[in-house]
């Protein structure tokens, strides 16, 4: 049992952190919440741990968002927040470009409906269609439809964003 959990922990921890990061937009907070998820899993020992981990992570992220709204804290986009660092040190110009690209993707993601965004992120976190259906309450057959719509909308929103940026810079 302990070995199984260790395996699950090692294989899922990063995915849970990433999933949380895309919701709270704070790397340290995402790690804190991910650890909290696994501490709770140790106490509860869920039967379907993988889906359970992401369900709890989603709930914690929602609580975090509500708390942030209550505190009226404005979470600035990734400012000073280290993201997937490349192996080499980018130049200042490259860094600005990278930050703009990240901001653009995040804005595109924010245009999705909460349901579409949730399913897209769960799929990207590695959950299977049945797990996504169980987690979100969606019919199994509707997962593919929702994913298709979410992907198209994300790309479309990103292209609109890039077009706007291009016009603004020119």
């Amino acid at each position: 049992m302990n070995d199984e959990f260790e395996l699950l922990y090692q294989s899922t921890y990063t995915a849970v952190v990433r999933f949380l990061y895309r919701k709270v937009w704070d790397a340290e907070r995402a790690e804190d919440l991910a650890q909290e998820v696994f501490v709770r899993a140790l106490a509860h020992r869920p039967e379907k741990p993988r889906a359970w981990l992401f369900a709890v992570a989603a709930n914690l992220a929602r609580d975090e968002a509500r708390a942030a709204v209550r505190r009226k804290r404005h979470l600035t986009l990734l400012k000073g927040d280290p993201v997937a660092q490349p192996a080499f040190e980018p130049s200042a110009e490259d860094q600005v470009e990278r930050d703009e690209e990240i901001a653009s993707v995040r804005d595109a993601l924010d245009t999705l409906t909460p349901r579409d965004r949730e399913i897209l992120l769960l799929w990207d976190a590695g959950l299977s269609y049945p797990e996504i259906a169980a987690e979100t309450g969606l019919a199994l057959g509707a997962v593919g439809t929702t994913l298709a719509r979410a992907r198209k909308r994300l790309v479309a929103a990103h292209e609109r964003q890039q077009t706007r940026d291009h016009v603004a810079h020119s």
Binding site: F5, Q10, Q35, L42, D124, G144, L147, V155
Partner: protein
């Protein structure tokens, strides 16, 4: 065969379809150019979203040692167990108190109801109380009674202060006239607020204190309980004595100034212990005619002795005021 729905192509590329369905789709794709084109577009869309989302990732994370998380989980579990234990303990105390109160109410429903519905009129005692005959019981209860004068003249003694006054024994707060009150059963611990602690530890008051209505107190006492003539009675408490002995009774009255004075009535030994003196310790065998003041946990006290019974009046008043109060003690009036 019709074209493959878009959502199914997504599921196919996401490897979310049964193997049999995958074989059917692959057969169709081999023959259908539009579906192949659609599949390629969806594959590109899928790859693009994956690449976009990959940019929204925190820095490379390293899982902390699982042992740390296990330690946190164990610590939290023990905290929760401790919290549950405390909650259960507190709940059991509340239940026990509730059961005790309920049982007391069932055993003494009259006194409980009477006090719970006390009205200002009921709290004000008529000034003229019927004077009972002087008691002539043999003076055998108190060890010092042999030295005390006989019944024909009331002896006066002083309730002396305890050598070490009881710590943290706040005097009861004055209660508003005629306030509607429940009938609490006071524990022996509350006794400390009524009087001193036995000085030598030999005398102990067992049982519980019980609130009575004024009528209930008269019925229990067989006559009007000792009290100061005039001020309204705000509280009557009694403690059962041994069988055959009249109980200890404390009558609280509130003066216009808000001060509360208490007249205690009971066997010499019990009252002495309540005030923190040994029975007879402070008895003046020469029996001065005027009361002598002492200090108790309740403030000043003046005691009036009649046979084997003692009647101290206590209150946070100057000795002169207390002496004036003492003169209005109904028992003193009726034995003179």
């Amino acid at each position: 065969m019709s074209h493959i729905p878009e959502a199914e192509l997504h599921a196919y590329l996401d490897q979310a379809l049964p193997r049999l369905r995958c074989v059917e789709i692959e057969s169709h794709l081999a023959e259908c150019t539009p579906c192949r084109t659609a599949r390629d577009e969806i594959a590109a869309l899928r790859d693009r979203t994956t690449a976009m989302l990959a940019r929204l990732a925190p820095r490379r994370t390293v899982p902390p040692p699982l042992a740390d998380l296990r330690h946190r989980a164990a610590h939290r579990a023990s905290e929760q167990a401790r919290f549950r234990q405390r909650t259960a303990w507190a709940a059991s105390v509340v239940v026990a108190l509730g059961v005790g109160w309920g049982a007391s109410y069932l055993v003494h429903p009259l006194s409980g109801r009477a006090l719970a519905t006390r009205t200002p009129a009921a709290a004000t005692i008529p000034a003229a109380a019927p004077a009972g005959p002087p008691r002539t019981s043999a003076d055998t209860a108190a060890p010092a009674s042999s030295e005390a004068p006989a019944d024909e003249a009331p002896a006066v003694l002083a309730a002396e202060p305890t050598a070490t006054p009881p710590a943290a024994a706040p005097a009861p707060k004055p209660k508003p006239h005629g306030a509607s009150r429940k009938a609490p059963v006071t524990s022996p611990a509350h006794l400390a607020t009524l009087g001193g602690v036995p000085k030598d530890g030999q005398l102990e008051f067992g049982g519980v204190w019980r609130n009575l209505s004024w009528d209930g107190a008269k019925a229990q006492n067989g006559e009007t309980p000792a009290r100061i003539d005039g001020p309204p009675v705000t509280e009557v408490q009694t403690q059962a004595g041994d069988s055959g002995r009249r109980p200890l009774m404390v009558v609280a009255q509130q003066l216009a100034s808000g001060e509360v004075i208490r007249t205690i009535e009971g066997p010499v030994s019990d009252v002495s212990a309540l005030l923190g003196t040994r029975p007879g310790e402070s008895v003046d065998s020469s029996a001065p005619r005027a009361p002598v003041a002492g200090r108790t946990g309740l403030g000043s006290a003046l005691a009036f002795r009649h046979g084997d019974r003692m009647f101290p009046v206590t209150g946070s008043l100057p000795s002169d005021s207390l002496r004036a109060m003492m003169r209005r003690l109904n028992l003193m009036l009726r034995v003179r």
